[in-house]
């Protein structure tokens, strides 16, 4: 197909598909009329059963925790895949430092940006940490916390300190941290199996005060490991892509 033909064929077929989709969508109960019962059933029991005031986290790490296991490993595989595809091949070497001085590798950053980025790094790390450890109380959790932690590293990069970035996250170590995060989640689930309970059963005693950090049994623990995994995975991905900007082919 030539691009022209393709566009016209798509406009016809795509209109058909979208019309078909709309036809089905118009059979929904209408916006704002969610019929239940799944969500309402969980809303009724979640706070009492898990002591978590953030029901979304209770679902992610408890009711549908098994989905989250899969989700973490999707991220794990993505990091592994990026590392596999972008691994240094024969005939590629790192660009000599001389070029770096010429400002061709690391995009030149103005000092204002560097200042702002550095100033933000501390609060972002704190915020990430807080989010990862308060999954069961407020809109937060391991995923958001972890990704914010990773953002802190991106900020360090923005501040122009690429070498600091590399020192902070040597790929091998990040790999280990990531695997520990993903594996830790699995192990928490397996501990329940070892006790003769169903996989991922929340086996820790619930606290007295709903909403406190240690009040919801395994939820806080799982959220913590998810945070580690997510942060490490994203740092790994960004680091691999950054590495690429420093790579040239031999003789090229």
């Amino acid at each position: 197909m030539t691009p022209r033909q393709r566009r016209w064929i798509f406009l016809i077929a795509g209109a058909g598909l979208v019309a078909f989709y709309l036809w089905g969508l118009s059979g929904l109960p209408g916006f704002g009329n969610y019929p239940g019962p799944y969500g309402f059933a969980i809303l009724r029991v979640a706070v009492a059963q898990t002591n978590a005031t953030g029901v979304v986290s209770a679902i992610n790490f408890d009711y549908r925790g098994f989905d989250t296991v899969g989700e973490e490993f999707i991220l794990f595989v993505a990091a592994a895949g990026v590392a596999t595809v972008l691994r240094r091949l024969r005939g590629e070497r790192e660009r000599p430092a001389v070029d770096e001085a010429a400002g061709r590798d690391v995009p030149a950053t103005s000092s204002a940006v560097r200042m702002v980025a550095l100033l933000f790094t501390g609060p972002v790390v704190l915020a990430g940490w807080w989010l990862a450890s308060h999954a069961q109380t407020t809109p937060s959790g391991g995923f958001q916390g972890g990704i914010l932690l990773a953002t802190a590293f991106i900020l360090i990069y923005l501040s122009g300190e690429f070498l600091v970035f590399k020192r902070l996250s040597p790929a091998d170590l990040t790999d280990v941290v990531e695997a520990v995060g993903a594996g830790g989640f699995v192990v928490i689930g397996l501990s329940a199996v070892a006790m003769g309970l169903a996989y991922l059963k929340n086996f820790l005693p619930l606290g007295q005060v709903p909403g406190a950090v240690s009040s919801s049994g395994t939820i806080a623990l799982i959220s913590f490991f998810v945070g580690i995994e997510v942060a490490a995975a994203f740092i790994l991905i960004v680091a691999e892509l950054l590495d690429q900007t420093l790579l040239i082919r031999q003789g090229g």
Binding site: P3, R6, F10, L11, G14, A15, L17, V18, Y21, L22, L25, S26, L28, G30, F31, G32, N33, Y34, G36, Y38, G39, F40, I42, L43, R44, A46, V47, T53, G54, V55, V56, A58, I59, N60, R64, D67, E71, I74, L75, V77, A78, A79, G81, V82, V85, L86, T137, T138, P139, G141, F143, P210, G211, V230, F234, I237, E240, L241, Q244, R249
Partner: protein, 114 residues
């Protein structure tokens, strides 16, 4: 308002697919794929919305306040992770494709590959 959010969902899906089909640059195509996926977030959160409901957090509101469906929100979170993962992987393919082929046009990639 009954169907409008879903019309937007279908529009985003159609526009995203249009972008994927007509794109002549892999990075552009990957961004269009992100748009296709974003239609699923809006759909998920749209079907779980309850008029007048609060967010499903009971930190500072009483326990049985009517709230929107938390399940679709958990699903949307998973979906966001999937998006990030798939995009990262596709971009690494694109970089490698550029190194091997010297172009990012899908049409030329196919011709160069033989």
């Amino acid at each position: 308002m009954q169907v409008f959010p879903f019309v937007v969902v279908a529009w985003i899906l159609g526009v995203g697919l249009y972008g994927v089909v007509t794109s002549r640059h892999l990075v552009h195509q990957i961004v269009c794929l992100i748009v296709v996926q974003s239609s699923t977030y809006v759909l998920l959160l749209g079907v779980g919305y309850v008029t007048g409901g609060v967010a499903p957090y009971f930190f500072d509101v009483p326990n049985h306040t009517p709230a929107v469906d938390p399940v679709v929100q958990a699903c949307a979170l998973t979906d966001v992770v999937v998006e990030a993962a798939v995009t990262a992987m596709l971009l690494s393919f694109a970089i490698q494709a550029y190194k091997r082929f010297g172009t990012l046009d899908p049409q030329e990639l196919a011709e160069l590959k033989g």
